[in-house]
């Protein structure tokens, strides 16, 4: 008798291991695992036991060698994924990948981040790592993996959340919420694993233990740094693409500095329109505007959410001026710049 169970574990080491052992205790032996599925067949209750280990820090060749070694020790092994990816032909894309190298094609270490090890119970404890140094190294890398997944997701959530400030969108908010929840789901096992690392470290002060060398520490940082760069590029790309719907322009040599209540843009040439959304409370607000026009046309408008035009200027020359805006009730204003072959820039600040 076989059965298929659909499950995903955020707690991919300990949580998954515990569940597999519970299944084995209930008389279900793992025979196959897919991205989100586990196939079991009947066995004697308690006949097998399982261990799950994170191996994605190693190259594929190394993890294969390790897998073969475990097999030669008489264990049965399975590769298991952490990432749930989308398939486009032979090229696989994982939405929250760790590095460009792993976004390539199958076969490879893609979606083989974990090894599940099965042992026939013989009364002896089943531990893959029994040495203090070794266990510490394992928990360290596992901990790092959890924090990396959690950190990536939380960073994405933050980026999406921040993007709604000047590009309000329900989808961004929903996305941010989803990423936030996923991030926290990985943060929990991460914290648990970091406690284990701390406990083992305390033990290491009296027992035999070798601290990892500086070189190893530096080498360990490389994939994280690479991952961070890729993530930043992906986020920037996503923001850029979604921003393109809000703005529509082509520019040459553009430099944009946009923060808080400042919007500074300069360029060699700008065609099209750019917008920025600003939420202001009731009262009188002052917009301080500086325009530099070397050539071409630049129009600027400030409008309220209901279409109230607070300011409109066309063909602005090089100038510096202030615009007073009276707002009756909290309003979402749109600052819009239309340019035609405009060379120069603008600086807008509001209070």
């Amino acid at each position: 008798m076989r059965k298929r169970v659909v499950r995903y574990f955020f707690d991919f080491t300990d949580g998954q291991e515990k569940w597999l052992n519970e299944m084995a205790a209930a008389g279900w032996r793992l025979v196959k695992c897919g991205q989100l599925t586990y196939d079991f067949e009947r066995c004697e209750p308690g006949e097998y036991e399982y261990a799950v280990e994170f191996v994605a820090d190693q190259s594929y060749a190394k993890s294969q060698d390790y897998k073969a070694f475990l097999e030669s020790m008489g264990y049965k092994t399975f590769y298991k994924n952490i990432n749930v990816g989308l398939y486009i032909g032979k090229v696989k894309w994982r939405p929250w990948g760790e590095g460009a190298g792993q976004m390539t094609t199958a076969p490879g270490s893609f979606q083989k981040e974990l090894i599940i090890v099965e042992k026939k119970k013989d009364g002896k404890p089943f531990e893959l790592h029994t040495d203090l140094t070794d266990s510490l190294a394992l928990y360290r890398k596992t901990c790092m993996a959890y924090f990396w997944y959690a950190g990536g997701m939380l960073a994405l959530a933050l980026m999406l959340l921040l993007s709604t400030v000047w590009m309000p969108s329900v989808y961004s908010l929903l996305g941010a919420g989803l990423c936030g929840v996923l991030g926290f789901r990985w943060l929990i096992p991460g914290v648990k694993t970091s406690r284990k690392v701390r406990r083992l470290k305390e033990e290491a002060t009296t027992n035999e233990y070798e601290a990892p060398s500086m070189k190893k520490k530096v080498l360990d940082m490389i994939p994280i740094a690479a991952g961070a760069i890729v993530l930043a590029a992906v986020v920037y790309g996503a923001l850029y693409l979604s921003g393109a719907q809000f703005d529509s322009y082509s520019a040459r040599g553009m430099l944009q500095l946009s923060w808080g209540n400042h919007w500074h843009v300069s360029y060699k040439e700008l065609n099209g329109y750019k917008q920025r959304r600003v939420t202001l409370d009731e009262g009188t607000h002052t917009f301080t505007i500086e325009i530099t026009t070397n050539a071409g046309e630049l129009d600027l408008s400030i409008t309220g959410e209901d279409g109230t035009v607070y300011y409109q200027g066309s063909g602005l020359p090089t100038s510096a001026f202030e615009v007073q805006v009276d707002i009756a009730a909290r309003d979402k204003l749109t600052l819009r710049v239309d340019a035609e072959g405009h060379s120069g820039g603008y600086k807008i600040r509001w209070e």
């Binding site: 280990e53 390790y66 073969a68 070694f69 475990l70 030669s72 020790m73 008489g74 264990y75 090890v117 002896k124 404890p125 531990e127 893959l128 790592h129 029994t130 040495d131 140094t133 070794d134 266990s135 190294a137 394992l138 035999e208 070798e210 060398s213």
Partner: protein, 110 residues
């Protein structure tokens, strides 16, 4: 499994794996050997053993044995001359420590 930098001591895992390869031995054999000679006090996890074997191979304290039996997927390892020197050094260190501890714990004045 680097040397303990302070005293040049080997970890127990390292030393036991070295001892188990005085005659060519494969992974599973090493695990069984260590369990047997320590009367079950030390049972190495497969992951730890894998790490230890690779570290020793890298240091050239053990070497892989060319497979005599064709078709066998079990790699065998044997201690090298360098490995034997390191084992001798460790034995000397342990003897010294053993003597010292015996005298002090036995109540003998230094």
């Amino acid at each position: 499994m680097r040397d303990n930098t302070a005293g040049g001591a080997l970890t127990e895992t390292t030393f036991l794996v070295l001892l188990s390869t005085y005659t060519p031995n494969h992974g599973y054999g090493i695990m069984q050997f260590i369990e047997r000679v320590t009367n079950g006090r030390v049972i190495l996890g497969a992951g730890t053993l894998y790490g230890a074997i690779n570290a020793l191979l890298k240091k050239k304290w053990i070497a892989p044995v060319e497979n005599i039996e064709p078709g066998s997927n079990k790699k065998e390892y044997v201690i090298t001359d360098l490995g034997k020197q390191m084992a001798q050094k460790e034995l000397n260190r342990l003897s010294e420590l053993y003597g010292l501890a015996s005298r002090i714990i036995g109540g003998e004045p230094l």
